[in-house]
């Protein structure tokens, strides 16, 4: 593992290298270098499986984190690569040419976070939300409560009574 990290350090601008609580090595890289790095890891180092592609919204820092976790089935190791991109007009290079099922992840992230992956197959087709015209719902500034209050018919709440007062009214209405 150390050789791969040394090799990556020489070739790519990686930073924040650390080990997760269950031994997964995580590192960050500049967005422009991600695809060459993944290609190199896949073709030269046997990281042939894309385990997960996930997005995290760091609203307070005005950036999105994209995490690519890849797996080497022979050595049974995982490697996590983080990329931070700007929140405005968020866009990232597509990796569907490396892994076919990455297109599904990218299509979902486009819909849920509004991060565009130009060139990814069917990326503009709705995945879960047909006819959605609001802010992408997984962004942290999307207010679910406000949305449901605006969208759905308001339901009157249940009437509540103070039990002591209610029983007094019921049993001794004259007092």
């Amino acid at each position: 593992m150390k050789e791969i990290i040394d090799h990556l350090k020489k070739r790519f601008p990686v930073y924040e290298i650390g080990e997760g609580p269950n031994g997964v090595i995580l590192m960050s890289v500049e967005a422009a270098k991600l695809v060459p790095m993944l290609t190199s890891l896949k073709t030269n180092h046997g990281y042939g499986i894309l385990v997960i592609l996930s997005a995290v919204d760091w609203l307070e820092d005005c950036k999105f984190q994209l995490t690519y976790i890849i797996n080497n089935p022979d050595e049974k190791r995982d490697l996590g690569i983080r990329v931070f991109i700007k929140r405005e007009d968020a866009e990232m290079e597509s990796i569907h040419s490396l892994w076919e099922h990455a297109a599904t992840f990218q299509r979902e992230i486009k819909e849920m976070f509004g991060i565009n992956f130009p060139g990814s197959p069917r990326v503009d087709e709705p995945f879960l939300l047909e006819g959605w015209d609001n802010l992408p719902p997984m962004r942290r500034d999307f207010d679910t409560k406000q949305y449901s209050e605006d969208t759905y018919f308001p339901r009157p709440g249940r009437e509540t009574n103070d039990p002591a007062e209610y029983m007094k009214q019921k049993l001794y209405p004259d007092e």
Binding site: G20, P21, N22, V24, L26, G48, I49, L50, V51, I52, S54, A55, V56, D57, Q65, T67, I69, P73, K76, D78, G80, W99, E100, H101, A103, T104, P126, F127, L128, L129, E130, P137, M138, R140, T144
Partner: protein, 396 residues
């Protein structure tokens, strides 16, 4: 029934015709093709999803998966809930097998929060996980015959599944959703006489599986309709993210319990069931052998586990538990394949992101759409069930 292998043909020479540029043209106005929607309500579809099929005669020319009929926004809801409040929601991310969700979320929380789980609790977690696997397989193995009209064995299977659900009710209080595995340990010890009653159930299930072998495995119609159908080439496994029994049926010896041992699976003696034909029948065979392995594992766990011990580690007050900043990946082997949670904590009492990646996410979207091309329309549900599609884990 012809003996043609409806496997993936790269040139797709029959239908549809290609134009001069090599692009395939599906002209619905030419009246050569019909669009058929299989689902969202259809006996041959597992759960609420639909397949938009374009057929020419009875051959599928194009297939598109449509999900979203069951989207409940769980991953969004997690942002507003404390870690312990995520449990009642997260188990509903896969209805047939909720325990893998519980385990992954509990394990992720423990890893990020730095909690050591007592030995007894880990053994009890294994009992719960293996019982959950067995009850899913009891639905899935005879259920494969149900997709081609052999409905009776799948009904028998439901009865034997109920026996395991009875044991779950005894152990956890719930039949379908258990909430047994919590951060730090489990909720309770085995009740008195539990092992004896579970053993009786296992004996009954073993004798039932012999009936399954007689009516399904030895059934000519079943073999004719599953052999050579839905073949996944071995070189598709990695690019499509295929895991679990589907990958094992293609000759890949992969099992999370062996490759990335969690709990005490490394102390148990079991093999990985592998087949090589990679068709619907091979996937059925792998699952059929998995039933025997699971029964054997349950017996091994019951004989190896201690009788007494701590079942819950000390945790901070779970409603005010601030988990330190960090991220982790947790995986376990569910009955359908590798089940993965990706957790990000930001140092507050609420998770920043919990992302689930179930096996269906890869199987039922990209893979299924390609696998159905050139298949006969009567085999669609059989192929879909053989991939163990579970829509709730696609759309969380």
């Amino acid at each position: 029934m012809s003996n043609t292998n409806y496997s993936w043909k790269n040139n797709r020479s029959l239908f549809p015709e290609a134009d001069e540029t090599g692009k395939l043209v599906v002209d619905l106005d030419s009246q050569k093709y019909i669009k058929v929607w299989q689902g969202p309500n259809h006996p041959g579809v597992t759960g609420n999803m639909s397949l938009e099929l374009t057929v020419s005669g009875d051959e599928v020319v194009e297939a598109k998966t449509h999900v979203g009929y069951l989207h409940r926004g769980f991953e969004k809801l997690f942002e507003r809930r404390r870690y312990i409040q995520c449990f009642p929601t997260c188990i509903r991310m896969c209805v047939p097998e909720p325990d893998t969700n519980e385990y992954n979320l509990a394990r992720g929380t423990e890893l990020l929060g730095g909690i050591e789980v007592p030995e007894m609790a880990n053994w009890l977690r294994m009992i719960a996980l293996e019982m959950a696997r067995l009850q899913v397989l009891l639905r899935m193995v005879p259920g494969q015959a149900g997709t081609m009209g052999l409905g009776l064995p799948s009904q028998w299977g439901l009865y034997y599944r109920e026996l395991i659900l009875d044991r779950f009710e005894e152990l956890t209080g719930g039949r379908i959703y258990h909430m047994y595995i919590l951060p730090g340990g489990v909720r309770g010890l085995l009740p008195a006489g539990f092992k004896k009653r579970l053993e009786e159930n296992l004996v009954k299930i073993e004798s039932f599986m012999k009936d399954v072998d007689r009516v399904i495995y030895a059934n000519t119609v079943f073999k004719k309709r599953t052999k050579g159908i839905g073949i996944i080439p071995a070189d598709w496994i990695d690019p499509y993210g295929v895991t679990g029994p589907v990958a094992r049926a293609a000759g890949y010896e992969r099992d999370v319990r062996k490759d990335y041992p969690y709990l005490y699976y490394d102390q148990l003696d079991f093999g990985v069931n592998v087949e090589h034909e990679s068709d619907v029948f091979a996937r059925f065979l792998v699952r059929r052998k998995d039933v025997d392995t699971t029964i054997d594992l349950l017996r091994q766990i019951m004989s190896k586990m201690p009788d007494k011990g701590d079942i819950k580690a000390e945790t901070p007050n779970v409603l005010h538990w601030k988990i330190p900043r960090g991220e982790t990946l947790v995986r376990c082997e569910s009955s359908r394949g590798e089940y993965i949670f990706y957790l990000v904590a930001d140092g507050s009492m609420y998770p920043r992101r919990i992302n689930l990646r179930g096996p269906s996410y890869a199987h039922a979207v990209t893979l299924l759409e390609k696998l159905l091309i050139n298949a006969n329309i009567s085999d669609v549900s059989s192929i879909m069930v053989s991939l163990a599609t579970c829509p709730p884990e696609i759309e969380r």
